[in-house]
């Protein structure tokens, strides 16, 4: 699967070059340059969608070059059906982040745009790297730009939040580094991810390695006891930072579980499944419960992220095709929907300079378009049929149901709670009477903000109504992961009945939400 054009390298290098370029152009042209680079990267990434061979579970757009000779470390890139959607999501969301920061970021605009573009390059690197050291370099290279993004352009408590974010994630990833080194010696002196995924390792070693991987990936996801950095970081980060954190950075953790933990350590993954499922279910319910109590919009969405990411890890550890495909779907869906919600909060924060729900009430009259968009994102987030999240959550629950009925039942509680906190939020923000002091400031979304938000709405319905475009591309790759992991698990018959049996689960929230959905 070699292509003559180095697609993936180009995707990584372009934003990095753009990060340099923003320092060379005139101050007034910085925003346009950054946007141009991000859009060019998006255009460059789109052909991958069609050139990708959906029938193959192999790595495609393969590139390889020697990087370091002793020990053998390679510059090795490739995408499969799991990483392709994530790469595209990265290139799609970065231009939106730049658009939404157009006016809200006034200081050190060059550095800001440069950090955004560096992060884009590093994230594409994370999702495409096929050498463990290269992966780790990209994984860690994310940290400093994100630290600066929160710390320089963040809210009043930004120093604390930035340091907390940094130390949490760094502490997790150093254990990952040790695990990588141990695997190097156990797996035949190689850092090749594909080769390491073929190896078999003794079970006690797998258990230790799983814990080390867990430390790195669970912090990023974030899974239940390790999630405390997330609300702080989200609340303090500027809008673009929140979007990148929620939509892309959290996916790195889930991606890590799927790409490394499951195929490399199948025995340990199976052994830890009860723990992982428990933590996921706790995260789903606890996150939703916490979201109910929040008065700050960003905090509410941050806790809803904890809950939604619980579905992702739940699906991954269901060990069947529905669960894992649902998890990947949910990764994409959460990126789109939560990204949209954070963008919405950013829009209103630019006007009222408050993220408190109490300050931002009754927006339907003064800002009809805004309220419509907000409601669409909220409905997508709570999994209304017809939107993207419905498909993902449905598949995850169907997969979990096959593994454990009680876990599925508990997890579906999370959906009900999600309906509760999101609809309550929508009820307060969209309806009611706006407070007179903010009324003059409540301009409806302008064209620039419209351009940033509408693509996400299109994606929500496109994935919600035609999920097969996405599913068809990840099928073969997920099968390949499953072949490694579920040798002792029955692989249930797949696909046909996938969308039928779970509709009742969501129905109880359905009618109510549909009413609200009509602006």
């Amino acid at each position: 699967m070699t292509h003559s054009f180095p697609w993936l390298s180009a995707l990584i290098v372009l934003p990095l070059a753009g990060a340099v370029a923003v320092f060379l152009v005139k101050e007034t042209g910085v925003r346009l340059t950054a946007l141009g680079v991000a859009l060019a990267d998006l255009l460059l990434s789109l052909p991958l969608w069609w050139l990708f061979d959906a029938s193959s579970g192999q790595m495609q757009f393969w590139e390889q070059a020697v990087w370091i000779t002793t020990p053998p470390i390679h510059y090795r890139l490739g995408v499969d059906g799991i990483s392709l959607p994530l790469v595209l999501m990265t290139t799609a969301l970065t231009p939106l982040c730049i658009l939404i920061s157009w006016e809200s970021i006034a200081t050190r605009i060059r550095t800001f745009m440069a950090t955004l573009l560096i992060m884009e390059g590093a994230m594409i690197g994370v999702f495409t790297a096929l050498d463990f050291v290269l992966f780790y370099v990209f994984w860690e290279a994310m940290l400093i730009p994100m630290y600066l993004l929160i710390g320089v352009w963040g809210g009043p408590d930004r120093l604390y939040a930035a340091m907390k974010f940094f130390l949490y994630t760094l502490a997790g990833s150093v254990l990952l580094l040790v695990a990588i080194l141990v695997l190097y010696f156990q797996g035949g002196q190689t850092f090749d991810i594909l080769q390491l995924s073929q190896g078999t390792y003794p079970k006690p070693l797998q258990m230790w390695l799983f814990l080390a991987f867990f430390a790195a990936f669970a912090v990023k996801v974030p899974m239940f006891p390790l999630h405390t950095w997330l609300p702080d970081a989200h609340v303090e980060a500027p809008t673009a930072g929140s979007v990148i954190l929620a939509s892309l950075l959290l996916k790195m953790g889930a991606y890590g579980f799927l790409r490394f933990s499951l195929p490399m350590l199948p025995d340990a993954s199976r052994a830890f499944t009860p723990l992982m499922v428990t933590l996921s279910v706790v995260a789903i319910i606890y996150g939703a419960y916490m979201a109910l109590a929040q008065a700050d919009l960003k905090k509410l969405i941050a806790y809803s992220s904890v809950s939604h990411m619980g579905f992702v890890t739940l699906g991954l550890f269901a060990f069947n095709i529905q669960g894992i495909e649902g998890a990947v779907m949910q990764m994409v869906n959460h990126g789109i929907t939560t990204g949209g919600l954070f963008l919405c909060v950013g829009v209103i924060y630019e006007r009222t300079h408050s993220r408190q729900i109490a300050d931002n009430v009754g927006l339907t009259k003064p800002m009809p378009c805004y309220a419509t968009l907000l409601v669409i994102f909220a409905l997508s987030s709570l999994g209304l049929p017809g939107t993207n999240s419905f498909v993902g959550e449905f598949m995850v629950l169907a997969g979990t149901f096959l593994w454990s009925k009680s876990a599925a039942a508990l997890a579906s509680l999370g959906i009900i709670l999600a309906a509760a906190y999101l609809l309550w939020m929508v009820q307060r923000v969209a309806f009611g009477l706006p407070s007179p002091q903010f009324l003059p400031k409540l301009r409806d979304v302008n064209q620039r903000e419209m351009v940033a938000l509408v693509p996400l709405v299109v994606l929500i319905f496109w994935i919600g109504l035609f999920p097969n475009h996405l599913l068809a591309r990840m099928h073969a790759s997920v099968d390949k992961v499953l072949a490694r992991t579920s040798s002792s698990f029955p692989v249930p018959a797949q696909t046909e009945s996938r969308l039928d049996p779970l509709t009742p689960l969501v129905r109880d929230t359905g009618p109510a939400t549909e009413q609200v959905g009509r602006p």
Binding site: W67, I68, T69, T70, P71, R108, V133, Y136, V137, E140, A141, L143, I144, Y147, L148, G151, V152, R158, L159, A162, M163, F166, L167, L170, A171, V174, L175, L177, V178, L181, V182, Y184, F185
Partner: protein, 490 residues
């Protein structure tokens, strides 16, 4: 012992440096103050020629003066690094000394004298010659630490350094004499042969090993023999601190590895246990105490202690690996050469902030540096990130190789411990980034004179940042060089 004139050719680099030192010292009183800049250029020129000569000796393998001096790739690797760092020191001092109003021509003479001592240390196969080199280096450094004669802290640093340094030299010498008693020689190959013949484990031998370990630990600033480091690093002129933190540490590691691998290689199991304890103590204390420092030079002092701990990790791994110890030793060489770039760069920025009334030594003085001098702040951030070991910088590559050999030696737990402390260290490195980027310049700093990056300082910073970035992205040439160099160490 026979004396062959060919031997002089082999030690030409050392001779050149010593000659240049003497010329500088002799010219200093004669020259008019305005002409004294020439001394710096003379020193630089000598160093450049030296580096060329040493590079040409890289592939040699020769003994000189009846085995007292070895010319091999291992020694040449260190000598190249030391000459390079000395060159950076001269460049850094050029503008810094003027800022401090220290117009001593002999300063450059002392740099060169210290360098010649270091060069002898790393290219000698005889304990007494190594001792001689160590003393030449230390004596020059004692004087240099006290060059700010009007500043009591500088004098205190010098006195403290001298007393503790002399003490440690005594212990080193004691170890050498005991070793001579046990093996009948001061030559490393002869000692190795004697140890190989005596498999029973002579307690005298063990005691001598401990003494040598303690003596070298003082020079390496390894816990618990690190007490002098923070005070001396803080009190000495910043350019001297940079020189000590990088060059003297590198030279000490060079000599130390040669003694313990070539001479005491038969006792690997014993000494790796000693250094294992020292390594853990160093990592813990260096990183934890650095957390609470408010003075940047003290913080960098503790950071340099901690980094000696990471390098020791490679030494311990080499000891544990036994026959296949090359990768462990190579990781130490690599670590110290990468450490040189980032630490020197950091100290260069500290020296740059020394302006008029502002000391530039408190971490608070860095407040809002990103606004006042964006380039300096960016560079300092790079050095801090690299010191914290975060990719893609040189610091990560150094740590990667050290940890790789630790895991290879089966000490995964130690790698985990060291990495956890690396994560802790990120806190104090990033605190500086926070101060520079996330706080507004205060009243004092906002009204301070504009910061200027002099041309010589720019060259220093360019070299340092090039090392940090280039070797961060593409360390292959340096890795290969270090691997080659280690092969000559038997």
């Amino acid at each position: 012992m026979t004396f062959a004139s060919g031997d002089l050719l082999l030690v030409l680099p050392e001779l050149l440096v010593i000659t240049a030192a003497c010329v500088v010292l002799a010219l200093d009183p004669v020259l008019h103050p305005s002409q004294k800049d020439g001394l710096a250029w003379l020193s630089l020129g000598t160093l450049a020629v030296c580096m060329g000569l040493i590079a040409s000796q890289m592939s040699h393998a020769a003994l000189a003066f009846g085995g007292l001096v070895v010319i091999d790739a291992y020694g040449c690797f260190w000598k190249l690094l030391l000459c390079f760092v000395s060159g950076l020191t001269v460049l850094l001092s050029y503008s810094y000394l003027k800022e401090e109003r220290l117009y001593f021509g002999e300063y450059y003479g002392f740099v060169l004298l210290a360098l010649s001592g270091m060069m002898v240390m790393v290219s000698s196969a005889d304990l007494l010659t190594i001792y001689l080199g160590t003393e030449l280096m230390s004596l020059s450094l004692y004087v240099m630490a006290g060059l700010k004669r009007a500043d009591p802290r500088s004098l205190e640093a010098s006195a403290k350094y001298f007393v503790l340094g002399a003490f440690s030299s005594g212990i080193l010498l004691y170890g050498i004499s005991l070793l001579y008693g046990a093996t009948g020689s001061t030559r490393l190959p002869a000692i190795a042969a004697a140890i190989a013949g005596n498999s029973l484990g002579d307690p005298l031998l063990l005691f001598a090993t401990i003494m040598l370990a303690v003596g070298f630990s003082f020079k390496l600033a390894v816990v618990p023999f690190h007490m002098w480091t923070p005070d001396v690093y803080q009190g000495a002129p910043t350019s001297v601190t940079a020189f000590m933190a990088v060059a003297s540490k590198a030279a000490s590691f060079g000599a130390f590895l040669r003694v313990f691998i070539e001479g005491l290689g038969g006792l690997k199991a014993d000494w790796s246990a000693i250094f294992l304890l020292l390594c853990i103590a160093t990592l813990v204390l260096g990183n934890v105490v650095a957390l609470v420092q408010t003075n940047i030079k003290r913080m960098l002092a503790y950071s340099s202690i901690a980094h000696a701990g990471y390098a020791l990790l490679g030494v311990v791994a080499a000891g544990r690996l036994g026959e296949s110890s090359a990768s462990g030793i190579a990781s130490v060489l690599l670590y110290l050469s990468l450490y040189a770039f980032m630490t020197f760069g950091a100290f260069a920025i500290v020296a740059m902030l020394r302006k008029g009334s502002i000391e530039g030594e408190e971490i608070e003085d860095f407040t809002g540096l990103a606004k006042r001098h964006p380039i300096a702040a960016l560079l300092m951030m790079l050095f801090m990130v690299s010191l914290a070991g975060i990719p893609p910088t040189a610091g990560f590559i150094g740590k990667f190789y050290v940890f790789l050999s630790a895991v290879e030696a089966g000490m995964t737990w130690l790698a985990v411990l060291a990495l956890i402390f690396a994560a802790i260290s990120a806190y104090y490195y990033l605190r500086l980034v926070m101060v520079m980027y996330m706080r507004e310049p205060g009243e004092v700093t906002a009204t301070s004179p504009r910061l200027v990056m002099s041309p010589t300082l720019s060259i220093v910073l360019a070299c340092a940042v090039a090392g940090v970035v280039i070797f961060g992205f593409y360390p292959n040439p340096l890795v290969n060089l270090a691997t080659q160099a280690v092969l000559t160490l038997k």
